[in-house]
Symmetry: C2
Subunit: 137 residues, 2 copies
DNA sequence: GTCATATCGTCAGCGTAACTGATGATCAGC
DNA sequence: GCTGATCATCAGTTACGCTGACGATATGAC
């Protein structure tokens, strides 16, 4: 018997990711967000104010993509860019009050989506841990 | 403390996939292939002759992408398209002899890459199985 | 203080891939 | 034969990662 296509790690990861992305997008659509937007909000929300480049680095997103991403969020009034006073090259990104509440609601949705998504797996946390190991985190 | 970005399932899957793709591309470059090409070869190699649409379906690749993919492989003399005699709409795709040997060598490389890639995980097979469960396969 | 170097944000452009919608050729059912 | 479906192809759109350049700003050497 030949090897199944679904034995390929790349195939598995690619389509698992695609299905998760789709499920997240569908669940977050009422908030006007997708998983990518939410990830940016989450980076901005997590503690000290970050510059755009720092946000990009946390998300491992390309530096030239983060600008457009923030544009969208800023237009919707969820984040603000403020020129840093200490270093005027930096745009410090912060959540607006509306951004905070949207973020919290969306995070609950995301957790629920992920929980349901991982339901077919006997030990979801172990699976997450495996992924983290593969990234060396 | 806030939630880490690396808690997000989407983040984990995305970057694990990116690293695997990169590792595969690097390892397969001497064969003039990437992981995507190899997946096509594998679908073509596995048993009965398939039409282009059937190849696309197996790989879950869009129907309009598979043509270009096959173009490249055909130019390199690895596959052939033959008009089916029973149904002249169909292009039956088969491996050339050179395609077969290239495929076999590349498959060994892929298996090795995947083995090394999964090395940080205590039970790689269980991880694979989890992924398959998520796809419902 | 001045200069060289580096960093931040932005922009234009490239390559890849998924996707939509249309087309011509061909097949199957009636 | 006619209608509708299927196969391969083509043009066009969108999304994303990436490179290379730019002006503005900061930092360090001197």
């Amino acid at each position: 018997m030949g090897s199944m296509v679904s034995d390929r790690l790349g195939y598995l990861l690619k389509h698992v990711l695609a299905e998760l992305t789709e499920a997240q997008a569908a669940a977050l659509a009422p908030q006007g967000l997708n998983g990518r937007d939410l990830a940016v909000l989450s980076a901005v929300a997590s503690g000290e104010p970050l510059s755009q480049l720092e946000v990009a680095a946390r998300l491992r997103v390309d530096r030239t993509s983060i600008g457009d991403l923030l544009d969208g969020l800023e237009e919707r009034g969820l984040v603000e860019r403020r020129r840093s006073t200490e270093d005027r090259r930096r745009n410090v990104v912060v959540l607006t009050p509306q951004g905070e509440s949207t973020f919290e609601a969306a995070e609950r949705i995301r957790l629920d989506v992920e929980r349901r998504f991982l339901a077919p797996i006997p030990h979801p946390d172990r699976f997450r841990k495996d992924l983290r190991l593969l990234l060396g985190e």
